[in-house]
Each structure stands twice: as C-alpha cells, then as structure tokens.
C-alpha cells in the first residue's frame, strides 16, 4: 500500500484499532477475565444509557459542535416520574408513554430557545441541567422510589431477568435463541451487502475493490458471531441490547438516508450555505434538540429498569459520557462530521476502559483520569490529522 493509503486507512479506523488494542491490553491485564461472557453481557447492559444518549448527542453535535448538558438531569427527571406513576399503580405502558412525551416536550422546550431565540445551547441546556435536577428532587421528594412492575423490568432489561428468554433451547447451557437471532442478523447483513454491491455494479457506480468488500463482510460477520457466541454462553441477549440496536439502526438510517439527516450535516458544515439553499436551519436545530429530549427519556426508562428504582442523584455526569463518546468516535467539535457507527465505537471504548479497570482492580479514582486522557488524545489526533491535510 502507498503511504497515503495507509494514513487514510489509519485515520478512518483509528478508533477501531484503539478499541482492539485497549481490549487486548485489558485482556492481558485481567488474565482474560474481561472477555468472559458475563462481563461482555455486563458491558452492554451497564452502558446502554451511554449508547442511547450518545446517538442523540451526536445529532446536536452535528449541527455545529453544540452539546446538550441537560440530558443527565432529564434522565433522572423522566425516570422519577415513571417510578412515581408506577408506584401509584399506573399501567406501565401508560407510564412509558408519558415519560417519552415528557422527554420530547423538554427537548422541544430547550430546542425552541436554542433554535428560534438563539440562546447559546451551552447556556440553554445548562439551565435545563439545573432545572430538571431540581425538579427530579421535587418529584421524588428527595427519596428513592422502587419499581417492581414485572413487565416493565422484563421489557426494558432490568432486575434479574434482563435477558431475552430462550424460546428455542432448554434454557440450560448455550442459549439457542441468541445463536439463531445472531445468525439471522449476520445473514441479513451479508445479503444486504451483496445486494448493494450487485446493484451498484449493474448501474455502473463505484464499488470498493472486491478484496476489501470480502474482508469487510468477513470481519463484521466474525465479530458479530463471536459476540453472539459470548452472549449465548451467558443467559443470551441482554434486553437492553435490543433497544440499543433499534436506536442505532433507526438513527443510522436517519443520518445517512433521509433529508433530515442530510440537513443536520449541512447545517453543521456550513450554516450560511445551507440557509441560502432554501433550508429552514432553525427547524434543524429544533429537531436535533427535541430528539435529544426524547432519547434522554428513553435512556431514563432503561436506567430506571436497570436500577429497579429512581433516586434524585441518578444520571449525574451522563451528559459528559455521551459527549465524550461522540468526540472519541470522531465527531467534529465544529459540527458537520461524525457517524452513528463512530459514536458507538467511542461509547464502547469508554465502557471497556471503565470495566477493564474495575475488573483489574485499579483504584476507581483513576477511572475519570484515564477517560479524560483518552478523550484528549482522540481529539488531538483528530485536530492533527486535519492539519496535515492542509
């Protein structure tokens, strides 16, 4: 390979490589414990909220490096409302819908100030961060409220049974449902890739070289199968993974295939040019922040289920985890650049570091230090690689 090809490959897959290296590092440090099926399962369940919030945050960051500081408080607030409603005997589905609607309304409230009144997002959402933290206290009256609605916990992956039940197998040993779903997923992926390639060839579009395409399919399939196998070895698919997958697929589609997605990138890339192209840029901001509120509520539901209770301190620092995941995942602090896939890698990277350090028994006080360093390194790398190009 030529030098330029190598550097562009490195640039594109830097964080994937970093993820693999860090996993390898902790694999050695923990004597292989980090890849025990149980730990792989925990990694997903524990970080579900980061994945969901980071995807929402990505949309805000795309519009020009704008962040939403209020999401941690909104997670806590919506969770508190849900817990309160269910503790009063309200049907859990109604509670869920109310939580999502409230999240959306909060997002629209903040989005209105940001988009139409031009309050700087940092300040508008800082206000939200204080406000909804306070309201969480009010709603919960400073107490912890437990949730014991079986259906709620099962559907949103909480409590002891936070796994998709084994419909096919006996429930003993390898989880067959998990294997079947995993294999079907992989087959769909391969099918789509082939269909895409055939289509492109037929219409005469550019395609990746055959060998790259083959490698890509093989690597992704192998990783997916490995993950399936790991999960199947420990009770199967964590319910939270279903929700993560849904969010990733839907938002991956929105950002790459729809008009709205296109506008998000365009506004962040050059707001003036976008506005002069006849696009309502204010609406784009409004959509990004409204959506963030909605996803914060979804994360609130997942957190509520996992904790099986709501307390006024929940969700602290979540906004920073989400923002960190986006930037580590290659989103530009100036907007217009970033992908859902990259964000997921960023979230995974942070999750692996935290979990690896816990398993390795490293003093918990060092965890934020390492997270901070990784974030700084990722952004330094991003800035330097852009400079080089110029």
């Amino acid at each position: 390979m030529e030098k330029s090809k190598i550097s562009s490959f490195l640039q594109k897959y830097m964080m994937v490589i970093a993820l693999i290296l860090i996993m390898g590092f902790f694999y050695i440090l923990t004597g292989g414990k980090i890849l025990y099926p149980q730990n792989v399962n925990n990694l997903i369940s524990q970080n579900a909220y980061v994945f969901i919030l980071a995807v929402g945050m990505l949309l805000c960051i795309l519009t020009g490096g704008n962040i939403d500081l209020s999401v941690g408080s909104v997670v806590c607030f919506t969770g508190g409302i849900g817990a309160l409603m269910m503790s009063k005997g309200v049907n859990m589905w109604i509670a869920v819908i109310v939580m999502l609607v409230i999240g959306l309304l909060i997002g629209m409230f903040q989005g209105f100030w940001v988009a139409y009144i031009k309050v700087p997002p940092f300040i508008a959402t800082l206000a939200g961060m204080y406000g909804f933290r306070g309201l969480s206290n009010v709603v919960l009256n400073g107490l912890t409220i437990g949730v014991n609605d079986e259906t709620f916990l099962k559907v949103f992956g909480g409590g002891a049974e936070c796994y998709v039940p084994d419909f096919i197998g006996s429930g003993e040993g390898l989880n067959l449902t998990c294997i079947v779903i995993g294999v079907i997923g992989i087959l769909i992926f391969i099918g789509l890739e082939i269909k895409n390639r055939v289509n492109s060839k037929m219409r005469g579009y550019e395609t990746k070289p055959f060998i790259n395409e083959l490698l890509w399919i093989l690597v992704i399939s192998a990783v997916a199968f490995w993950l399936t196998f790991k999960l199947a070895n420990h009770k199967g698919i964590p319910t939270a993974l279903i929700w993560i997958a849904l969010v990733v697929l839907i938002y991956g589609y929105i950002t790459t295939k729809t008009r709205t997605g296109r506008y998000l990138y365009a506004v962040g890339g050059n707001e003036k040019a976008t506005s002069l192209s006849g696009i309502n840029t204010k609406k784009v901001y409004f959509i990004a922040y409204s959506n963030m509120g909605f996803l914060a509520a979804l994360a609130g539901i997942i957190v509520l289920a996992r904790m099986t209770n709501a307390a006024p301190t929940y969700g602290q620092g979540y906004e920073m985890d989400a923002i960190g995941a986006c930037f580590i995942g290659g989103a530009s602090a100036y907007g217009g650049v970033g992908t859902v896939g990259g964000t997921i890698i960023g979230a995974l990277l942070m999750g692996v570091i935290t979990q690896g350090m816990v398993i390795a028994g490293i003093d918990a006080n060092y965890q934020p230090v390492v997270k901070g360093l990784v974030l700084l390194l990722a952004v330094i790398f991003d800035v330097l690689s852009k400079k080089e190009k110029k």
Partner: protein, 512 residues
C-alpha cells in the same frame, strides 16, 4: 527636491497561482500625500501589506528602503517601530473598550506589566485633541459614529509615533462631511511634516489631497502623476487605471435569441439589517430578458450583493420595498425556499463561506438546494442522487476522480463548478451569479463563461455581478453600473467601454 522617505524597489509578490505584484516601484517623498489608485484587485492593498510587514520579509522579492536604510520587516510591530503605521479599511477597534484602551492596545502605558491608567487616559486625550475630537478618552468606542471611530484610528496611529501614515480606503464607510473632515485633517498633518499614503477609489478626494498619484494596474505600477508638473484630470487617471486591451478571453455566443422580459425589479430599496437607518440599495430598477446576460458592474461595497440577496427571497436586509415581477406577474417572495420555488437562483460570491459545505461530498453539495426532487417521502434516493451528481460533473467538466470527493479538496475553479451545478440542478429560470470567476485561474474562467453561454442558449436569464471590467464587457448583453447603492448608468454592450463605465462611477461619486 525633497528627501525620499520611502522607496519600494522591484517588489514582486506571488501567491500560489497568481502574481499579485510584478516589479512594483514606488517613491514617496517626505512630507507629501501620495495616493495609490487602481481597480479592485490591482494590488494596492497587497503592496501596503508588504510595506507594513503583514507579508514578512522573504515572502516577496525586492527591497524596501525607508529613511535611507534597507528594511526587513517580519511583523507589523517591526514596521511600526520605524513609524510606518497602516490604518485598514475595516475599522479595527474593540467596541466595548474605551477610546483610551483601544488606542494603547498592544502598546500599553505603564511599567512591569501594570498598566498606568492615568497616563493612558492623559496621553489618549492629548492625541484625541490632535485629531479634533472633543470626546473623553474614557468613552466606549461603540458610542461613537463611524466618522469619529476613523478619527480614533488615526489618533491611535499618532500614539504609535507615526512618521508615515497609510490609509486604506479611509472614507469608504464615511458620509460626505466626515470624509471632508478626515481629508482636511490629512492636509493639516501634512503641514506639520507628516507623510501619508492614501488608497482610494474616490478620484475627487484623491485630486483634493494628493500631491502625487501612482496608478496600479494588474499588479504593476503604471505611472506616477505629479500634481505640480502635470494637469491631473479624472479622465487622465481613469485612462491609466483601465488602459488595457480586451483580448480573446471570452467565448463567442452564437445566435441566442433574446426573448421577453423574465424578471423585472422596480424601485427596489433595501436597508442595512443592523443599522436600519442606513440605505444599502436605493431605488434600483432592473430587468432581464430570456436568453440575456445582464452585467452589474460596481466596485466593492456598491451594494450589488445586497441587491441580489434581497431579491433572492429577502435573504438580506430589512425594510425592503419595491416590486418584483416574474414573467410579468408580481410576486412576493417570503423566504429563500419561496425564491427557489419561483425559479430564481443566487450563486454567492463567497463560495467557501456561503456557498458550499466543504466537509461534504460533491454529490451532497450538488443536490442540497433541490433535495426534495430526489427524496420522495423524505428519504433520499441514492441512485438518483448519484446520477444527478455524475450528470452535472460531466456537463460542467468538473475535474475530480469521483463525485464522492469532499468539496474542500477541490481547486477553486472546480468548487465554483460544483456551486454552479448545485444551482443549475435547482432548475432556475433566472440565475444571479455574484462574482462567478473570483479567485480562479484563466482556464477555469473560460469554462465558466462557456457554461454561462450554454445557460442563456437554453433560454435562461443570467444576471452577472462582477467587479472585473473586462469580464463585464466581454460577457454582457447589457450592463448596469452601480455605485453607492444606486444604479448610475445602463449601457448596451456595443456602446460600453471601460472608460465610459469607470467615469460613470467616479463622476457619480462626486455628485453625492
């Protein structure tokens, strides 16, 4: 003969791809006011930037001899130490600081890092008096009008012990009485022994203050006129400014039938969005026919862009009045989307700042203004999008390996083609092209001209805004001349010459 204070010898400055200055020579005598005149982009400001050290020693060729010694300035600070102070066209004052703070910004009074505010304000008041301002130096700059701000700039220069004062278009944002005050101040300083260089477009002002006038054209000094030895008339200066031959740089347009009026603008007036009392476009009327290229010529700041953008769905300005007729029917465009729907396109002069999303691909940029047409149900059809991008890439001969290429990686000429592709895909009937060939090389310019010809051949109307005279003359069927927000002339292509256009503009400035 008086002592030569400054001599610039054989200055050559190249930017990637362009020679901005080519063997320029300039001699300034002590105690005179020396004017530099020339068209936009002739190289006047570049020359002054070389002199003041903004382009450091080594990035240009030639010598600067100041006060008898050869100078190698690396920063503005170096030249200021010698007493050469430049005042730029845009005011460089911090609005929320006091006059005194501004005046000594970077040049603070006091010792060991502690600022002596009493000394600062006392000194500042002294210099303010010298420029004839009665304000206290503790006044915030934002409280002052532009005329007084310009005076503060001059006081600031004096505070740096200026011996050679360079003023770049000092009166461009001033009204007539403020301009007069400024010019009189220059004459007063001259009596006190100050040497000044003034860059200006306004020939009446130049004739009023200057002892000598050096004409710059296409990066070279053409001639220096001495008020004391030759009669300086404005026609004489204009001749020096534009005296170049029109060569075969423009493709021929064959048999394009000029049809009915496509767009008509009447009594169009626009006010500045931030200073609503300031008129930017003043009672302008224009029309353009099918198959016609109409040029709007004017110097920078004449209000051309503001006119175009205000017509384009009120994308600029407040208090817009006047009527807009498309195909004979009056329309009211509420916003840009509306303008695009009514088949008007505005191709910006600032392709990087306002035109393209540099971090996105050619494909994405091409479809941005008309995404609806390839995204049924709000979902972008990737096949159609790709086909569109490739079609326009081939039609406009954009040089790129692939339409997936990021626009930021393209050359200026190819970026311009992507921008044109974007607006052609929006399928307009009237295209307003604002400086369509700014900053691109001669070959790419020719290709852009060919595209314009194809557009009118297809029955579209093109309004081309340009500050390059040869381009306006070479491409337009009809030319409007704009100055200070008003149209000051309309010429048919056959009757128009560079001299007529320039004198139209320069003479209109006097009447105002």
């Amino acid at each position: 003969m008086a002592k030569i204070l400054l001599e610039m010898k054989n200055i050559t400055k190249t930017f990637p791809g362009v020679k901005a200055l080519d063997n320029v020579n300039l001699q300034v005598e002590e105690g005179e006011i020396h004017a530099l005149v020339g068209e936009n982009g002739a190289g006047k400001s570049t020359l002054m930037n070389v002199l003041s050290g903004i382009y450091p020693y080594g990035t240009y060729e030639g010598d600067i001899i100041y006060d008898g010694e050869v100078c190698n300035f690396n920063t503005i600070k170096d030249s200021e130490e010698k007493g050469i102070v430049i005042i730029h066209q845009e005011l460089a004052l911090v609005p929320y600081m006091t006059i005194g703070e501004n005046m000594f910004l970077g040049n603070e009074r006091g010792k060991k890092g502690a600022i002596d505010w009493n000394e600062t304000y006392a000194e500042a008041d002294k210099y303010l008096k010298m420029v004839g301002l009665s304000e206290s130096s503790r006044t915030l700059v934002k409280e002052l009008g532009t005329g007084k701000q310009q005076m503060v700039e001059i006081a600031k220069a004096l505070a740096k012990h200026a011996k050679l004062l360079i003023l770049d278009e000092p009166t461009s944002s001033l009204n007539e009485s403020d301009s007069k005050a400024l010019l009189d101040l220059m004459l007063k300083f001259k009596k006190e022994g100050m040497t000044s260089i003034i860059i200006s477009h306004k020939l009446n002002e130049v004739a009023y203050v200057a002892d000598k006038i050096t004409v710059v054209r296409d990066g070279s000094t053409i001639e220096t006129l001495d008020k004391h030895t030759t009669e300086i008339s404005e026609d004489r200066i204009i001749k020096g400014m534009v005296g170049r031959e029109l060569t075969d740089r423009f493709p021929k347009r064959h048999d394009v039938k000029i049809g009915d009026i496509n767009m008509e603008v009447d009594n169009w007036t626009v006010y500045h969005p931030l200073y609503p009392e300031r008129k930017v476009v003043d009672n302008v009327s224009l029309n353009v026919r099918k198959g016609e290229v109409v040029g709007i010529y004017g110097l920078m700041g004449a209000g051309r862009t503001e006119l175009a953008m205000s017509v384009f769905g009120h994308a600029y300005g407040t208090g817009i009045s006047g009527t807009l007729k498309l195909d004979g029917k009056e329309v009211h465009l509420k916003n840009i989307k509306d303008a695009i729907k009514h088949k008007i396109a505005y191709v910006t002069e600032d392709r990087k700042g306002n035109g393209l999303v540099l971090s996105n691909s050619i494909k994405i940029n091409t479809t941005l203004a008309n995404l609806d047409s390839i995204s049924p149900n709000k979902i972008v059809d990737p096949d159609k999008e790709y086909q569109v991008a490739v079609e326009y890439k081939e039609k406009l001969k954009t040089k790129t390996p692939s339409v997936e290429q990021k626009v930021g990686n393209l050359s200026g000429g190819n970026q311009q083609k992507v921008l044109l592709a974007k607006w052609m895909f929006a399928d307009p009937d009237v295209l307003i092209l604002d400086e369509p060939t700014r900053g691109i090389d001669v070959g790419a310019k020719y290709e852009i001209y060919c595209i314009i010809n194809d557009l009118v051949a297809a029955g579209k109307s093109v309004i081309m805004i340009s500050s390059e005279l040869p381009e306006v003359l070479g491409m337009s069927d009809r030319i409007y001349i704009m100055n200070e927000g008003r149209f000051v002339g309309e010429l048919n292509a056959e009757e128009a010459t560079q001299e007529i256009i320039m004198s139209n503009i320069l003479k209109s400035g006097e009447g105002a």
